[in-house]
Symmetry: C2
Subunit: 256 residues, 2 copies
């Protein structure tokens, strides 16, 4: 791959799967840091940015906190900048990260939905629905269809629940994480690079690959995480497919 | 309204709201029974047909069990006729009605979703999602957006959750209740009447009004139940709007 100056990495499913780093991933990131501009961009909304950063450091990934872009952080920023509060459907930990911006008042101007796991229950979804019927704006931290769960099977991600609220309340969500072009542009701006000089490395054919390509980047699909062979039979064509992130240096070889 | 020989009545929101009959509704049904062919068609899937029939009788409605068409009954019939079993998202009571047709095996050939209330939780939704990813067929007893809840507010109905599963698993549901044309046709066949001679009376602008009109019936909207003035500002135009079912005889006056 030619003319690459910056790399965006998805985190879960690319750098680690569950609690284990992908073999060779730590060494790969260490080898590329300094040679490329790098950002770590995640739709993972179960945990606040600081926890994700801590997990990466604990596993030995030499990343800097300023290199981290999370969908949850982007959602929080929207509510904060509007001076509003939000009814949220999030994990307890992510809800705490919203602090006083979170409330249960159905007259709130925002509803924020992330991957909430067991917190996707009728009480919370119906409260969000009623808030939307009162005119709130629906912010989807992400709208991924599914993720690879701890038991090795695919599990429902936030996307379905965002779609449920859209359908029931007759509204359209603003998606702040991948594949939102604005999310990719924010990461590009922070690197000072044009999209043609940046690649995205991810395991999600839609959010990572189609999303990055729509924003003008090239995209590399890894066969780890939620990857399934059927991903390659659809209408999205990655610019490259590698077994894991550990094969990235070889793909970049000849480029500098 | 001219040339009416048969009437389809929606039940919840039209004949009763919560636990109370709509004022004048019992007398209206009594007055029309015998003069018109009548069927009672409901997407209410929280309770099995026998329970809905019992509730109507207890309130004094002179209906016959054979006049009742329920979406839950239609869904059960599909699974039974296919000789399969289904992972279901239903209330406990509706699940019992499925009896041995219900199971939690994610290799099942069917997923059946009705209005499940508190049973819309992550465990059940994710089990349904995994069953669909294994190739099961998604049967939506109904896909209503919302209903008028016991507290007087609108609450999320099954539609959102059906849409969530469609989005997450990349499948398309078969809807067996209203507004499915097949559901209306079944009721018409049982009366031996063509659609031009039958009217539908309902409170749901989409399932009842748009659904019946698409099947060739005329449709009368009542201002009870889930009715909201905004329903009349959309793209669906009822053939008539009345304050409640008690005004139906007057609407039919001059017709016999």
């Amino acid at each position: 791959m030619k003319n690459v100056k910056g790399i965006l990495f998805d985190i879960g499913g690319v750098l680690y799967v569950g609690e284990s780093p992908v073999p060779g991933a730590v060494e790969t990131i260490a080898a590329l840091q300094g040679r490329y501009q790098m950002r770590f961009v995640t739709n993972s909304t179960r945990r606040p940015p600081a926890t994700i950063y801590g997990k990466l450091r604990r596993m030995g990934f030499p990343v800097e906190e300023r290199q981290l872009f999370t969908a949850l952080g982007a959602a929080r920023q929207i509510v904060e900048e509007a001076g509003g509060r939000a009814v949220t459907i999030l994990t307890e930990e992510a809800e705490k990260y919203f602090g006083p911006l979170h409330c249960i008042d159905t007259a709130s101007p925002f509803v924020v939905v992330g991957d909430a796991g067991e917190n996707f229950n009728y009480l919370r979804l119906n409260r969000a629905f009623r808030t939307l019927m009162n005119g709130a704006k629906l912010i989807a931290a992400a709208r991924n269809r599914y993720f690879k769960d701890a038991d090795g099977e695919l599990s429902m991600d936030a996307g379905g629940f965002v779609t449920a609220l859209e359908y029931a309340a007759g509204v359209k969500a603003t998606v702040v994480g991948k594949p939102s072009p604005e999310f990719f542009r924010q990461a590009l701006r922070s690197m000072g690079l044009p999209p043609e000089e940046v690649i995205m490395v991810g395991d999600d054919i839609e959010s990572d690959i189609a999303g990055a390509q729509a924003a003008g980047l090239r995209a590399v699909l890894v066969r780890t995480g939620k990857f399934r062979p059927v991903d390659l039979e659809g209408a999205v064509f990655p610019d490259a497919v590698i077994d894991s992130v550990a094969d990235l240096p070889e793909l970049l070889e000849g480029d500098s």
